[in-house]
């Protein structure tokens, strides 16, 4: 992968993101990847003069993630998207759609989480996935 990857924790994330802004980096986007049943990776891609830099945050599902939208306001859309698709919860979002950016109630929550959806549940809401959301 092009660019450096810096591992960050939930407590250093906002500081690192703010530092990137001071250094003149532009926030490209956030990518969320499900690693296994318990953890997800969130990659924060930054760009400066066509070179990329990534922050990698590994968090267990169900722990709230600090939002960087106070520093990079434009992150709110990507964070809302992750909130919709992965069922994570971001604290301090600039604009919080509360999981309705893309999805209607009919659709199961967290459609991007492989480990909480069975193919047979395709047309019915997966009860365990919903429960997980409730616990968040």
């Amino acid at each position: 992968m092009q660019g450096d990857i810096i591992a960050v924790g939930p407590e250093t994330l906002v500081r690192e993101a703010a530092q990137a802004k001071v250094d003149g980096y532009r926030l490209v986007t956030l990518s969320c990847v499900e690693l296994d049943a318990e953890t997800v990776d969130i990659l924060y891609h930054f760009d400066k003069d066509l070179t990329l830099k990534h922050l990698r945050l590994t968090v267990p599902k169900g722990t709230p993630v600090p939002s960087i939208s106070a520093v990079h306001w434009a992150a709110f859309l990507a964070e809302n998207e992750i909130q919709d698709l992965f069922g994570l919860h971001f604290t301090g979002l600039a604009v919080d759609y509360e999981g309705t950016l893309y999805l209607e109630d009919e659709v199961r929550r967290t459609p991007f989480c492989r480990y909480s959806i069975r193919q047979s549940d395709k047309n019915t809401p997966a009860p365990d996935a919903r429960q997980e959301m409730g616990e968040n």
Partner: protein, 148 residues
């Protein structure tokens, strides 16, 4: 007399309403291309309108998803009788390449009745014009509005 006049003018100058469900834009730009100089369906008196209350024919492109199905039904209900619905492109027919995606309901006919199906990914402008002409047949044979 007046009824005949309305009927005749409706066939000779149908007004279209285009709604993009969750199409990839391929079919949308082909619908728009029909209106522009090379294909130019305006020479037949066909006009693209933005208001469902003025429209005779509803062109739908793209698959129906969970959110826009309400918008689609709403638009359909607002159109006056008689009306024809034309589904354009593989996605509008059956869901196409997206049929297995989680947010996709399927073809347009799962939500509203469809009169003409125009296949293609994307459908060519010639095919779309053909579809509209077929849709006019329905308007021609349509009897008086079921309810006024």
């Amino acid at each position: 007399m007046l009824k005949n006049l309305i009927q005749k003018s409706r066939i000779k100058s149908p007004w279209l309403l285009h709604y993009d469900c969750s199409s990839c834009n391929g079919c949308d730009i082909e619908v728009l291309a029909c209106l522009t100089p090379v294909y130019d369906i305006e020479r037949f008196g066909i006009i693209n309108v933005g208001n469902p209350k003025h429209a005779d024919i509803l062109l739908v492109t793209g698959t129906v998803n969970q959110r826009n199905k309400k918008v689609l039904v709403n638009l359909f209900d607002q159109m006056p009788h008689p009306k024809a619905v034309i589904a354009i492109g593989s996605c509008a027919l059956s869901g196409g390449i997206f049929r297995e995606a989680y947010n996709v309901v399927g073809g347009v006919d799962k939500v509203i009745p469809v009169d003409v199906y125009v296949p293609g990914c994307p459908a060519k402008p010639e095919a779309i014009i053909d579809g509209v002409v077929l849709g006019l047949e329905k308007l021609k044979t349509a009897s008086l509005p079921a309810r006024l």
